[in-house]
Structures are given as C-alpha cells and as structure tokens.
Symmetry: C2
Subunit: 137 residues, 2 copies
C-alpha cells in the first residue's frame, strides 16, 4: 500500500464518475453513491430538492457542512487498485450560471429531477494505491 | 430506481467482497474501503491495532459505535446496478474463537497485520437497483 499525494489523488478522482458522499444525518453517519465531475478543483454533484444533502447544505448556507467523498477502483480478484478520500466543506450552489453549467456538464444517473448542485472544496485529500507485493528473494 | 427489500439487499452485499465503512472520527465523517464477509447475518471486517475503527470500537466496548456500511456495483457506462447501505452498531470482536474463525474466512487485501475484527449488526438496511427506463410508447 503506497500513499498518494494530493495531485495524484485528485487526478484519479477526476478519472472516474462514481463516488460516495459521506455525511452526518440526525447525528448518524450515512453514505450515498453519486456521480460527480471535477470543476476548477472542486467536486460537483447534482441533487434534488428533497435530498438530505440538499436540505443540510441549504440550511448551513455559505458556511457549508463537512462531508467526506470517496472513490475507488479496486479489483476484487487481484486486489490491486486505488482509493481516494476527500474531506471538505460542501455547499449548495446558488449561482445560476454555475448551476446551468453543472447541469450541462453532469448528467444524473437516476431518472429524477435534479435541480440542485452541491460543490465540495477538497480541504483534506488522501489516498492510497494497492500494488503487488515484491516477490521475496 | 427501485428500492430493495432487506433480504435482497443483504444477498447483494454478500455477493461482493468490497465495501466502504463510514464512521465519525473527531466529529467528522470519514470512510475507508475494506473487504468483508457476511457471517450469521452480520458484516465482518478485519482491522489492525492502530486503525481508527479498532480504537473507537474498543473504547465503546459492548455498546458499540454506530457506523454505516455501503457496497455497490454500478456500471459507469450503462449506469445500471445496485447499492446497499446498512446502518448499525459496530463492535470489536473479543471472543477468541470468533476471531480465529474470521481470520480463516477473511483474507485482508492489504499486506499488514490485521489482528482484530469488527462485526456490524445490520439494524437498518436499505438499497436500490438502477434499472433501464421503460421505453415510451
């Protein structure tokens, strides 16, 4: 297992479209799979009006709420791959131009109206790569 | 998107070996990819002495700590697949027989001594399947 530096980790995150958003709901940890894009160094997700994340970030206003975001690609047979974990403030996007741009960049995978977007600033970025062990001898 | 019932969701979780454990560390949400087995209806993970999850569950004793556990298989091209999310109490396994059994059942994917095990009781189980949309007409 080798640690990734910030730029490697963010490049791997940008190379995939599926991740998991981790947040606290009613004082309990929770997690949802979502698709994302990276835009200007931030992670962007689309959400709907009733989503817990929309409500939480909406209530928090510009202060945002702390979330974690994780993506990985680990082969279940070889056990090789990588994982990236970001922690940062998530904020509801309220700028209409940004929102329109994200709607054009990011197609939700679920057939549901996704009128909102949440943007995560990657404050802490960590990650690792699982590599084959060198053979002894 | 169709909701899964508890038994379907647990069967899908048992069909894969990789998931993500979600917990709270220093009041912040965090997440780690891990491999698991399902044993007698509980999710079992192996951990090491220095892992945050080992320390937290060790401190919590028999009361356990609330965690979420997520696994998914979503095709990035077709966007079809499933996700299962479990919430429940995680406890450090202290019974030596159980620990020996888990060591035999579950090989860690990381080359690191993994002397401990954590068991999660699935109290809340939810999940969904992303299916192709019916064609109009």
């Amino acid at each position: 297992m080798t640690q990734l530096d910030r730029s490697e980790a963010l490049a791997l995150l940008a190379s995939v479209s599926l991740g998991r958003i981790v947040f606290t709901q009613n004082a309990l940890p929770t997690v949802r799979p979502v698709n994302h894009v990276i835009d200007r160094g931030q992670i962007v997700l689309r959400t709907h009006a009733g989503a817990a994340l929309t409500l939480q970030t909406g209530r928090a206003g510009n202060g945002g709420v702390v979330v974690a975001y994780e993506a990985d690609a680990i082969d279940p047979v070889t056990h090789l791959g990588w994982s990236v974990i970001v922690t940062g403030y998530a904020r509801l996007v309220d700028d209409p131009e940004d929102l329109a741009r994200y709607h054009a960049m990011l197609e939700p995978w679920v057939a549901q109206t996704m009128d909102h977007a949440v943007r995560i600033r990657p404050d802490l970025v960590s990650g690792f790569r699982l590599t084959a062990q060198p053979l002894a001898g």
